[in-house]
Amino acid sequence: MAAFLQFAFSGLTVGAVYALVALGFTLIYNASDVVNFAQGEFVMLGGMVTVVLLAAGVPLPLAALIAIAVAIGVGVALHRLAIEPARNASPVALIIITIGASILIRGIAQIVFDKQFHKLPAFSGDAPFEVLGATILPQSFWVMGGTAAIVVLLYVFLERTILGKAVLATAANRLAAHLVGIDTKLIVTLSFGIAAAIGAVAGILVTPITLTSYNVGTLLALKGFAGGMLGGMGNPLGAVLGGLLLGLMEAFGAGYISSTYKDGIAFIVILVVLFISPRGLLGRRSVERV
């Protein structure tokens, strides 16, 4: 039982980060049909900028805010300078552009920051809690709580505000949204900004546990993408569910089956799910109008 709980805590913590990355994928995918492989770089920027500012003497909350602002700036710039000018290109070309952008961001980060690994202090101490024989770090609560808060905030924003409804409208049909007077270009830019902010928050929350460096984004982008595919690309709830499931599968795979094949186990499950249900667990509710 203790072991089971321990694996679950580990899986939920790691999975929460995958979920946030997958959420970023989903937001941008919905708004612009672009699969943004630079999503992991926002996580890296959140962590690294906070680390650098903290080392320069900026208090943690302010450093975190600046890091989120930097990530939003990069996200908006990514859209305005790279995606928007190529708007009419095929989705594959756009995906290649985002991969190029992620390499560029990583290269610049390597020069501006450095190639070393860095840590952040845990927000509320390092003493682990004991739950039925398993242990959990206070920071894990921050990660899971932060993820839950973001999901709720995003839900309220999308469902309860005019701007949020404009985002949903653009996601549903860009041309129609444009025709009813929604500035769709602004909405897409906004989506990039929100996705970047979510990525940065994930980076800041998780760095005290996992450490960070200029190249942590690549793997997170892959895992987040896998989580998003598992949950159903385009469905925010599916993204969260897929991310959490991926994290849990890795933890239970490593714990109960074999740590050597834990990534393989997770990916086999994803393949099986996609064979049975190609749109993922909660696929996009696409309605064909005739």
Binding site: S10, H118, A254, S259
Partner: protein, 389 residues
């Protein structure tokens, strides 16, 4: 007419160039050429860059104090960027074009293995700076190396365990090249120390949470210690997770994390962790009667003064390689590659940063286990564990 004149002028210029070039190469023939191919850039640059700086620094120093056998040393360094193909090209160039007398280089195991056949064929001695045991086992006539092997790191750890009465251990290794190689070497020698591995777990080099694997180790009855062969940030996370789970048996890390950044990343969780490392890391803590003390303190001071960077064991490997070669040239009184080879093989009681080197026709590394020091982390710093054997 002017055309003929121009042609003549051109020929004259060409001839002049040839004469100058010949004179130039005559003057260069007075020097002793030491070739090198290092990974100054690329993923292994943190190894190659200090090696390059060390070689340049010490060749300049030797030349400033009169050179070797009255001749200046000429250092030819090419960058292979960590790419074995490039290293091989560099090696061919060093042998055929530059006609070096001896080679000190090969930052990574991959680069070294790619270059070895070229030097073996050309019968030019090659002192490698890379880690793997395959370089000198089996022994090849012209190939030597200076860094200790990961098998020795395993042996040092198991020796320390044995002296503490530990016989049952768990292992958690990274799946990267370093972690895997050391893991395999450890399994090869663990039986010699009467120690059995009860749990054998692994993790990906970029994984961010190892609590599931460590939980399994924790729940395996009878484990008295845990070894973590790994490199980079993985061991720091393992160390943190280890303390989070409240595992109380001793944790051993490898020489792969023997740098301040490990202590920094792992934080208070690193307290009490033991690991084998070169004497260079604890230069100032060595007792005054330690034979290596003078050498490592001098190298550390010189390197840090010249570069403004903290000393690393990798630069130390280059220091050892260069000085073994220079000593061999002095002893043999000749810069003939075959003579140098014979003398390198006779190296005995050479005190370097990596240990005391005694080579032989069957041992082209020449380090004993004494080359490694067992360290324990106390109050956020390294401390020497007194030898109990």
């Amino acid at each position: 007419m002017t055309k003929l004149y121009r042609t003549l002028l051109f020929l004259l210029a060409v001839t002049a160039c040839f004469v100058w070039a010949l004179m130039g190469s005559n003057a260069l023939a007075q020097t002793i050429k030491i070739g090198s191919s290092l990974s100054v850039t690329g993923p292994a640059s943190f190894l190659g860059a200090p090696e390059e700086k060390t070689l340049r620094l010490y060749v300049d120093k030797i030349n400033a104090s009169g050179g070797v056998l009255g001749r200046k040393l000429q250092l030819i360094i090419y960058d292979d960027g960590g790419d074995p193909n490039k290293a091989r090209t560099n090696a061919t160039r060093l042998v055929e074009q530059d006609k070096v007398a001896v080679m000190v280089g090969g930052t990574t195991t991959g680069a070294t293995l790619a270059m070895m056949p070229i030097f073996e064929d050309a019968q030019i001695p090659f002192v490698s700076l890379a880690g793997a045991i395959e370089i000198i086992d089996p022994v090849q006539k012209y190939i030597f190396k200076t860094p200790h092997t990961d098998r020795m790191a395993c042996e040092k750890i198991f020796q320390d365990m044995k002296s503490r009465g530990i016989t049952k251990i768990g292992m958690i290794a990274g799946t990267d090249a370093f972690g895997k190689s050391m893991h395999d070497q450890c399994l090869k020698v663990v039986g010699n120390y009467g120690i059995t591995v009860l749990a054998d777990e692994s993790y990906g080099a970029q994984d961010s949470d190892m609590t599931p694997q460590l939980t399994n180790i924790k729940n395996t009855a009878g484990i008295q210690a845990v070894v973590n062969p790994g490199f980079g940030q993985g061991p720091a996370i393992v160390t943190r997770n280890y303390r989070q789970l409240g595992i109380s048996v001793p944790l051993y890390e490898s020489h792969g994390v023997a740098s301040k950044s490990y202590i920094d990343l792992a934080g208070p969780a690193a307290e009490g962790v033991r690991l084998p490392a070169a004497a260079l890391l604890v230069a100032n803590q060595l007792p005054d009667n330690d034979p290596q003390k003078k050498v490592v303190v001098a190298y550390k001071t010189t390197y840090e003064k010249a570069t403004g960077e903290p000393v690393s064991t990798f630069g130390g490997h280059a220091y050892d390689g260069l000085n073994i070669v220079v000593a061999a040239i002095r002893r043999g009184g000749s810069a003939d590659p075959k003579k140098i080879r014979d003398e390198i093989e006779k190296t005995s009681h050479f005190i370097g940063t990596g240990g005391i080197v005694n080579m032989s026709p069957t041992d082209h590394l020449g380090l004993s286990l004494a080359a490694f020091r067992m360290l324990e982390i106390k109050n956020g710093d390294w401390t020497l564990v007194a030898a109990t054997h």
